[in-house]
């Protein structure tokens, strides 16, 4: 059944390739996504044991990421049908195929226990997303695609070198090189510390640049700014989480080695704080609201890194935040895509009074903003609160205070862009647009917003136990 999760989207991609009609083709997306979500739900309840070689196993960490990806993709798939009906001027074949291939690769990322295979799947997500950023076919989007492709490829290349170092450290230790997570963790204490240290650095830099941690985030504002909203949602909620899962795997090995953990945690906290600081600085006076969302994503990968770096109680918060950030970013990107469609512009010079012009999309964008900045009653509040309170409990006061300071600055910076956008009256000279809020473009993000609210008020028991299991995998030395 796990293999079906990888194969099904590939079959879907093949169908999308065959279907000749531009209007019918996007329907493959929700069709595949619904089955994918159903399979995911089955697998979460009824998890198969590890495969004989130990390559494939859906562990609790993988489950959290898979749940987030599957849910987000399903929502985006339904949205895509609505969105693409406004974009009939160009073929959506590459878009549909790219999305499905990427879904397949993301599924593989969540379930593999072999770090080499994980790398291959992650690189596949990078390459399959590149043509989608270029969907709009203009000079700006080609520039964004080029930066994304080159920087991410180089980053992932460095991660490959890190993996080779890791394999070499096992080779030096016992002449039997392996990249399987289980054996690696069992023998982690005997690994050559020099090579392990080098491996940890290269893997952090490589996967960190894919995740968009500052100062390796240069591609992010451009790619998120120029990609269609729904691609942005999957970049910010899907690819980021896959890269974070890869960092979690490295963290597991550092944890098992004992000696390497302190360094890795400090590096994560450092990069996390730098990311939040970068986001706080660049968020202010950001006229382009999609770029603003990209900086918000930089901020939130920083929060994830800090949560992981702090360890202990913050681990639960980090895993929960992974889910919350992914879903909330989905709401923000999808509704911003609607606003962009309606105004034909994505700067705050033109976009004003979205609540009047597009009550649903404007309202969702505002609600998403309130949620992502960590205001109750939405779920990001709970995860951020868990992380920051754990910082203070562990006596990491400077980290806790800086975290709060950056959150406040980001809130103000983001509010200065978002509030003028949604409030007030739309510009009088604005031409009416073909876009209007309809069920398929508003329903999916609204559904996701409801989930965020639900998770914030009453997190279901199965999710809490899943997150606790995941945090235990990261918190206890085997």
């Amino acid at each position: 059944m796990l293999y079906a999760l990888v194969l099904l989207p590939l079959v879907g991609a093949l169908c999308a390739w065959i279907v000749p009609d531009n209007r019918l083709r996007p329907i493959t997306l929700p069709a595949v996504a619904t089955v994918h979500l159903a399979l995911t739900a089955l697998l979460l309840v009824n998890t198969p044991p590890p495969s004989p070689g130990g390559w494939i196993w859906l562990d609790p960490l993988g489950k959290v990421v898979l749940l987030c990806i599957s849910l987000l993709f399903t929502v985006c798939a339904f949205y895509a049908v609505g969105y693409l009906s406004y974009r009939q001027e160009r073929s959506n074949r590459v878009l549909c195929m790219g999305l499905l291939v990427c879904l397949s690769a993301m599924g593989l990322v969540t379930m593999t226990q072999h770090l080499g295979l994980l790398w291959v799947a992650l690189e596949t997500t990078t390459v399959s997303m590149a043509p989608l950023i270029y969907f709009n076919r203009n000079a700006r989007s080609i520039e964004a695609t080029w930066k994304y492709l080159l920087l991410c490829s180089v980053g992932i290349g460095l991660a490959l070198l890190g993996l080779l170092f890791l394999a070499y450290s096992t080779y030096v230790a016992h002449r039997d090189a392996t990249l399987l997570l289980g054996p690696l963790m069992l023998s982690a204490r005997e690994l050559n510390p020099g090579w392990l240290h080098a491996a940890a650095i290269f893997l952090l830099v490589g996967y960190g640049s894919k995740m968009g941690l500052a100062p390796l985030h240069a591609w992010k504002p451009d790619a998120y700014g120029e990609a269609p909203g729904l691609v942005g949602a999957l970049l910010a909620g899907g690819l980021v989480n896959c890269a974070f899962l890869s960092i979690l795997r490295v963290y597991q090995i550092c944890l098992a080695s004992g000696s390497e953990l302190a360094f890795f945690q400090d590096a994560l906290v450092g990069m996390g704080l730098i990311s939040m600081a970068f986001a706080a600085v660049f968020m202010a006076h950001q006229a382009d609201f999609k770029r603003m969302l990209a900086y918000s994503s930089v901020e939130h990968v920083g929060i994830l890194a800090i949560g992981l770096g702090l360890g202990k109680g913050a681990l639960y918060g980090a895993l929960f935040h992974l889910l919350n950030n992914g879903l909330t970013k989905g709401v923000l990107f999808l509704s911003s895509g609607n606003i962009h469609r309606s105004y034909g512009n994505k700067t705050t010079d033109v976009v004003k009074g979205a609540l009047t012009r597009l009550p649903w999309s404007g309202g969702l964008f505002l609600a998403g903003f309130i949620a992502i900045t960590g205001s109750p009653p939405f779920s990001p509040f709970i995860s951020e609160y868990t992380i920051v309170s754990s910082a203070f409990i562990e006596g990491r006061h400077p980290v806790g205070w800086l975290f709060l300071l950056f959150l406040v600055i980001v809130f103000i910076g983001m509010a200065l862009t978002v509030l003028p956008m949604v409030m007030g009256a739309p510009p009088a000279d604005l031409e009416p647009s073909a876009y209007e809020d309809r069920l398929l473009t508003v329903g999916p993000p609204l559904f996701m917003m409801a989930i965020i609210l639900w998770l914030g008020i009453w997190p279901p028991a199965f999710l809490v136990s899943l997150l606790t299991e995941g945090a235990a995998m990261l918190g206890v030395q085997p």
């Binding site: 080609i142 490829s153 070198l161």
Partner: protein, 213 residues
Amino acid sequence: MSSFADQLLVLVMLINLIMLGTSRLMFSIRAVAVQGVILGVLPGLIHPFSGHLAGITAGIILAKGVAIPYFIGGAVRKAQIRREVEPFVGYVPTLLLGAIFTALAFVFAERLPLAPEHKDLLFVPASIATLLCGFLILTTRRKAISQVIGYLVMENGIFVFGLLLTEAMPVMVEAGALLDLLVGIFVMGIVINHISREFSSIDTSRLRALKEE
């Protein structure tokens, strides 16, 4: 056989320097193809023969020696660009830097805790030197194609290190990595075509619309 392997690795490092010194793009592409073929031959020289090894050799030569040069060569022909003009840093300074990096790679490799049977081989210094030269090409050249070549040289450097572990890496992972590289270069080639159509040039310094005001 390992002395022959060392000679080939010296050749790999020489090719790095040649690429740093030349402005002709087709020449660079051929040089990177030769490097790829050498990379394909090397595992056969240091590991005993097996079906797995033959597969890897064939895969690397086909991907790095034939397919990738073909993709990039196609992009060069379509964009009708022959030379790299005005790199951000001149040829002589980058060549000197490349030589310095190569020397430093040897010094650095001496200090690494290598397995005893790898101590006398040139794999590690050649790998680091190639990686650094690739970075140098990637960061100092203007043309999109030169940047792709730099990326390829960097990947070659990583592969040289991987050759030490050829027997340990499962075929599926190696094949996947090669396939990803291949598709990645293919997509980059397409993007280059679009850049040249959009800007009438593949000069990446023209890609500067996206920045913070």
